[in-house]
């Protein structure tokens, strides 16, 4: 290399080092890639690709498949960057780099993790996938180790320890790359873990900032005067004053969901989970900021605003679901919107710049624990009959809708700018809930409630038995536009495309394609196992592909039984979930579709 070409090479390299953000943004802008979990920073899970459209999707066929070699629940989906596809597995969290031209494996990363991690993961050993940036692949292992892998070779560039499984801290989330940082959270809400979000330096793995969900102001990275809740400063000790004594130390508010980012506002969005024990009687107060949405400055971690959906949780309605960033017109005014389908059954639309609450309506008519959300205070108006706190310890509160797994759990929604509709995979499950007193011991489950779950129809007495619906939602109006009943919870991430097709997966294992306008089913294919993964799309050599991980498991799979008994009296959801065993079995497989 002569001096001149060296300078040119250096000049080409500089942008890569200057900002991984630009790198990622460029990759995202090219819809031939699927470079981030949500397809883009806004998390719309929408692709401009339109080769596969509503007129030809019925000709879809399997192009190739890939077994991950792992049983257990497979959440998340593949990333595609150029000629390479990256796919992850549940524990032990393998990563495969696949060469798209011939589907050979470029490299495999197979970590050795302590099996003691497995039993402290509440609901299966899922992992929601990878992040790409700065020429690296980021994996958040179950044992809390955040690993940076060289995307070309699979070599470990750096690792960072994010928590301690001996205290019940684990990880299931996909990290997010923003500028020169990798952002990640923590799981362990059923172990009294105090949730936080951390940013690591993308080049070195050094911790840059860490912000807790609950506790003292400085540890939460909030400014009592500048951080707002519904437009008002949150004031000093906004969290501490809503807990009794030292209970905030077991305050939960874990952060195991999806992260989104607005580059113009430089804000990262995510939600926090349940407040410590599931027994509300022993933790009076609003338990801030569990069950809350956060908007944080990506550089400093400082919170710009926060909004608590479920003050003083009594039902395990974690607030961790994704926040989709979409500009939309509400009451005649264009807004920089944020749309969030909460576990608690309300679909929220907020102004993502200032956290103003614009819309809060039920996205499942079965929801009964609250009548509505007061738009001035932002508080749900709880129905006494369904208040497990009012009813007290050792009392079984019956027919609460939704169940603890929420009207929707982690399975991310999609949004199409062509229809202005959100496509939401939902659960239609209710529960009985009986809190009881428990002691906290580090590394042991800290739950304190007995749960029984069953199809919502058993509570609403409308004669239905479906456990899920796939719905289209108008986030400006707060209304369901259409709703497709599904026999089981819809636990897969949806995809919307410019071909006016919406894709989702079912627990029996079907990949389904429906018309984005009407919901009419256009195509279905039975994949090897139940789907709790996300549907993603990309092109290779100019041809559009659709990819989905199947592999039943996760919280949705906990009810899937092998051994059956004759009696069905009082079986409820278990009866329904049990019949899932007639449809599918374990096993992780990536299935890739194309039109031949």
């Amino acid at each position: 290399m002569n001096a001149k070409s060296f300078v040119v090479a250096l000049a080409l390299l500089v942008p890569c080092f200057a900002g991984a953000n630009e790198d990622v943004e460029k990759l995202i802008a090219d819809s031939s890639n699927w470079a981030i979990w949500g397809g883009n920073y806004a998390g719309t899970r929408y692709s401009e690709l339109a080769q596969i459209d509503k007129t030809n999707v019925n000709r879809l066929q399997v192009a190739w498949t890939f077994s991950t070699g792992v049983l257990r629940g497979h959440e998340g989906g593949p990333l595609v960057v150029g000629d390479t596809l990256y796919i992850h597995t549940p524990f032990p969290n393998k990563v495969f780099s696949i060469n798209l031209p011939d589907q050979t494996i470029n490299w495999t990363y197979a970590p050795t993790q302590d099996t003691d991690t497995i039993p402290v993961m509440c609901c299966d050993t899922v992992n929601r996938g990878l992040a790409y940036g700065d020429g690296k692949i980021f994996l958040q292992q179950a044992d809390t180790k955040l690993v940076a892998l060289n995307a070309e070779t699979g070599a470990v560039a750096w690792t960072a320890i994010n928590g301690d499984p001996a205290k019940g801290e684990t990880n299931t989330n996909a990290p997010l790359v923003v500028k020169d940082k990798v952002i990640t959270g923590i799981s362990g809400g059923e172990y009294g873990v105090r949730g936080f979000v951390v940013a690591y330096d993308i080049a070195t793995g050094r911790q840059v900032w860490k912000a807790y969900s609950v506790g003292p102001d400085q540890e939460m990275l909030v400014d009592p005067r500048r951080t707002t809740h519904l437009g008002r400063p949150i004031g000093a000790n906004s969290s501490l004053s809503t807990w009794e004594g030292e209970q905030w130390k077991l305050g939960g508010g874990t952060t195991w969901g999806w992260f989104t980012y607005d580059p113009a506002l430089n804000l990262v969005y995510y939600g926090s989970g349940n407040p410590g024990t599931w027994n509300p009687t022993v933790r009076p107060g609003d338990n801030r900021w569990s069950m809350a949405l956060f908007a944080r400055d990506a550089d400093t971690g400082m919170a710009k605003w926060v909004y608590q959906m479920t003050p003083h949780d009594e039902w395990d309605y974690d607030g961790v679901n994704e926040n989709v960033l979409v500009d939309l017109e509400v009451d005649g005014r264009m807004r920089k919107g944020l749309v969030h389908f909460d576990r608690n059954g309300f679909g929220y639309t907020l102004d993502r710049e200032n956290g103003e609450l614009l819309v809060a309506e039920k996205f499942d008519p079965a929801v009964n624990w609250a009548t509505h959300v007061d738009m001035r205070t932002g508080r749900p108006q709880v129905v006494d009959r369904y208040s497990t706190g009012k009813n007290g310890e050792d009392f079984n509160t019956e027919d609460i809708c939704p169940a603890a797994l929420g009207s929707k759990d982690q399975q991310p929604a999609a949004y199409s700018p062509r229809t202005n509709l959100f496509y939401v995979p939902t659960n239609h499950v209710c529960m009985d809930y009986e809190p009881y007193e428990v002691e906290y011991v580090a590394g042991q489950p800290y739950v304190g409630a007995v749960l029984t779950m069953f199809p919502a129809g058993q509570a609403t007495r409308d004669g239905t038995t479906n456990l899920g619906n796939f719905i289209a939602w108008d986030a400006a109006e707060g209304k369901i536009v259409w709703s497709l009943p599904e026999p089981f919870s819809v636990w897969s991430g949806a995809l919307a495309t410019a071909g006016d097709v919406v894709f989702y997966g079912t627990l029996e294992g079907y990949l389904k394609a429906v018309d984005a306008k009407t919901g009419q089913e256009l195509y279905r294919f039975k994949t090897p196992s139940g789907i709790i993964g996300n549907i993603n799309t990309w092109t290779h050599e100019g041809k559009q592909y659709i990819g989905v991980l199947s592999g039943i498991g996760g919280w949705a799979g906990i009810g899937m039984a092998a051994g059956l008994e004759g009696a069905t009296d009082g079986l409820g959801a278990v009866g329904a979930y049990r019949s899932l065993a007639r449809h599918t079995q374990l096993g992780g497989v990536l299935t890739v579709f194309a039109i031949p």
Partner: protein, 150 residues
């Protein structure tokens, strides 16, 4: 539980199935549970099982902790085995050993429970519950309490 205390044995008790099933090779002299299942007027005639205190506490502990892996009614999940089948294959000693020391099986890993105060106080009760389920005596669903023993 409050509702259970209101329970009075009705004439319908004649329809109740009193169960004391057993297996010949079981070394224990008495079953670790008392279970009576039958139509319950309080529940519109649906079949409901009533159980002794120990079995009830076992049911509750199970559905507070164990069900997150072994599923409601101990029928197993994608993550942990069907305990009804498993418990039929083992005796109480093996059960207690697994509870105390944990168990690595074909599907996964169960942690030891001897240091968890929310569980270790109730090993006997859990045995009563899973045994009653495994014997096919206690039906799925939430049981009610039998009237307090004298």
């Amino acid at each position: 539980m409050r509702r259970c205390r209101k329970f009075v044995l009705l004439v319908a008790a004649a329809a109740l199935v009193a169960v004391s099933a057993g297996e010949a090779q079981e070394p224990e002299t008495a079953k670790p549970y008392t279970v009576e299942c039958g139509p319950d007027p309080e529940e519109g005639g649906a079949t409901v099982c009533r159980v002794d205190r120990g079995t009830y506490v076992g049911w509750r502990t199970f559905h507070g902790i164990c069900h997150t892996c072994h599923a409601q009614d101990a029928v197993g999940s994608t993550f942990a085995p069907d305990l009804l089948a498993r418990v039929r294959e083992i005796d109480k000693t093996a059960f207690m050993k697994a509870m105390n020391e944990g168990f690595t099986g074909q599907m996964g890993v169960m942690p030891p429970w001897k240091q968890d105060p929310n569980v270790n106080k109730y090993f006997e009760e859990l045995w009563s519950y899973v045994r009653a389920r495994a014997d096919g005596v206690l039906l799925p669903g939430r049981p009610k309490r039998l009237p307090a023993e004298p």
